[in-house]
Subunit: 120 residues, 2 copies
């Protein structure tokens, strides 16, 4: 359970940056070296290395060094747990707001009955 | 587009903490005051206020002060954009790994043909 929560903490933190999300989108279409990524996102090599290492720690990216080039590709994590957490939240959310809607409907009906009674 | 990315940054950051996710789950079943939440999550009032304010900035929670009590409830944001982003990533991920599988299959077949040729 602790591991599950730690994984969610790490992944959501990794996803909370526009460049890191961009890198994942890029690697979704093709593998790329860190210098390719740095160029594409107009960043220094050092800046990009930091972003990639955050993604690597979250298991979202795997890097491999061949000669002088470090190539990045998508990691094994498919964001299944994150998708499931968000889906559960959305269901709870809908249930809460449906209940609120029903309450408002009920109050409206009561008010109508009350108004009819007064008219008699 | 910038707003969209900023919203994703803010929401994913808000979700990257186990207590904040717990607060959202709690508010999914019933509204609660900040002191209720502090007690339930074994935190100081100040600590809980900080978490709630992060959730409030992300639009995930709305707070209302009546008298001395500040009550929290789920906000209007349903994590639709976040769910959509994750879903797109999962599709890209599957496409990448399917392509890899096909490549491996192709290489295996070529190897087999090659071995058969050598045997003749």
């Amino acid at each position: 359970m602790v591991h599950y929560q730690t994984r969610l903490d790490t992944t959501f933190a990794a996803l909370s940056d526009v460049t890191r999300r961009g890198v994942l989108e890029q690697l979704g279409s093709s593998d790329a070296s860190i210098s390719d990524l740095a160029e594409r996102f107009h960043m220094t090599l050092t800046g990009m290395k930091k972003h990639v290492s955050v993604l690597e720690e979250a298991g979202l990216v795997i890097t491999e060094k061949v000669g002088r080039v470090r190539t990045c590709r998508l990691g094994q994590r498919r964001l299944e747990e994150e998708a499931a957490w968000i889906e559960r939240h959305r269901q709870l959310w809908s249930a809460r707001f449906d209940a609120l809607d029903k309450l408002v409907e009920h109050m409206k009906r009561e008010e109508k009955v009350d108004a009819q009674r007064k008219r008699r």
